[in-house]
């Protein structure tokens, strides 16, 4: 490395390797940093929509990971296939979106009774 920095390799990998997959971490490669983790629960009336919000206030649109639980103890990343008879996250960007100050996830409830859903949003310190 011509510059000063930090470099940590996987066991058995050469310190001089330039293959990114050989690295545990390196100051040469910016890491995806988790600046916020939010676990939330929404209650959605039958036929209704409910929203979960993360006020990150980063001033830019961050890289974001969304996980949702619409079936108890079963989590999926992003937007699973909509459940015609149950609860699902709404991928329509008019309802679920990431902004420069906050991220919003919308849940739709097509069941006949009020239900709940949980979400986990990881907000990264990197532009999305």
């Amino acid at each position: 490395m011509g510059d000063y920095g930090i470099k940590v390799m996987l066991p058995g990998k050469d310190i001089t390797s330039s293959e990114p997959r050989d690295h545990v971490l390196s100051s040469k490669f910016s890491a995806v940093k988790i600046v916020n983790e939010t676990l939330g629960t929404v209650v959605i009336s039958s036929g209704g929509t409910a929203y979960g919000t993360v006020n990150h206030n980063l001033g830019f649109v961050p890289l974001t990971l969304l996980y949702t639980e619409t079936t108890p103890n079963s989590w999926e990343m992003g937007f699973p296939f909509p459940s015609p008879a149950g609860i699902y996250p709404n991928s329509n960007p008019n309802f679920t979106n990431i902004g420069t100050a906050k991220s919003i996830v919308a849940f739709v409830n097509n069941a006949l009774t009020t239900g709940t859903a949980r979400y986990k949003i990881y907000t990264m310190g990197d532009s999305g």
């Binding site: 910016s30 996980y67 986990k120």
Partner: protein, 291 residues
């Protein structure tokens, strides 16, 4: 930083910057930590609609993860879960995380390599075109019938797994005894639309059936593998041709009969072809917990 830690910033950026985008790494911000990075392949066999595979992580909590899927007909990886394009689902993949396992799944709207054909023609010797009657009517008259299906996706002499004719009982008689009939394929290269097809050539393969009828609007099945094989082995058969079947009453009791009309749902022909598909998932599980 008031606490002891590590902070590395991008070249040309102040070490005192609080903008996360200026920071390469910092002990102030957690990073995802790999727990598992591997692939899992699922085999989709003829007739399958949902296929699953399990990746054990045994973390005791629900971890963050990322999954990708690639299909044999593309060289591209796509995110999981995926929502099929448009309103009509054809296929989609899923990945569900639990406290011990991550379960990947592949889902089809229709069974894999299974082709279902809706009825195209009915014939009844009692009611004529667009109707279907087999047995002995309440007035004692014999009824014979025929069915026809078009655009059959089978090559000449193609080997396949199964061919089943599901006959819809749209109406039936009051007799408690079975409806008895002899069954044939129509032995023609590409049997034409019906105008009394009962005199058309018949396959050598035949079946004598004594059929207990289900409740109205339910189906009973006939294995038509032999009849279909005989038809698609004809010199003049080609993919996309039509196939038909003939039903002749065989001493049914008076009032033992079934019938239908050419309104969907109606009788259908289902052919299951051989050949499997391999779906490959790339799964990354982090040590970081969702909950």
């Amino acid at each position: 930083m008031s606490n002891i830690g590590i902070k590395v910033v991008n070249a040309g950026t102040s070490i005192q910057s609080n903008d996360p985008r200026d920071i390469i790494l910092s002990s102030k911000y957690s990073m995802f930590k790999y727990h598992y990075d591997g692939t899992i392949s699922l085999t989709v066999n003829p007739g399958d609609t949902d296929v699953y595979g399990t990746v054990a992580h045994n973390l005791g909590y629900i971890p963050a993860s990322m999954s990708y899927v690639s299909y044999p007909d593309t060289n591209l990886q796509t995110f999981v879960p995926e929502i099929p394009y448009g309103v009509d689902l054809q296929r989609y993949s899923s990945a569900k995380m639990g406290t011990s396992n991550l379960v990947v799944g592949f889902h089809l709207a229709e069974p894999y390599n299974q082709f279902t054909y809706d009825i195209n023609d009915y014939w009844s010797t009692r009611r004529g075109a667009n109707y279907f009657d087999v047995g002995k009517y309440s007035d004692g008259n014999t009824m014979n019938g025929a069915t026809r299906f078009t655009n059959i996706n089978l090559n000449k002499n193609e080997s396949y797994i199964s061919a089943n004719l599901d006959v819809l009982v749209g109406s039936k008689g009051t007799a408690s005894t079975d409806t008895k009939f002899n069954f044939y394929g129509i032995d023609e290269d590409n049997t034409s639309s019906f105008g009394d097809p009962m005199g058309r050539d018949r396959t050598t393969s035949t079946q004598s059936k004594s059929q207990s009828l289900p409740p109205i609007n339910n189906y009973f099945g006939i294995d038509v593998h032999n009849e279909v094989n005989e038809i698609i082995s004809r010199a003049g058969w080609s993919n996309g041709n039509a196939i038909g079947f003939l039903f002749f009453n065989n001493n049914s009791d008076t009032g033992a009969y079934f019938g239908d009309a050419l309104v969907l749902p109606a009788s259908k022909l289902t052919i299951t072809k051989s050949g499997s598909m391999t779906i490959t998932f790339k799964v990354i599980i982090f040590k970081d917990r969702i909950i």
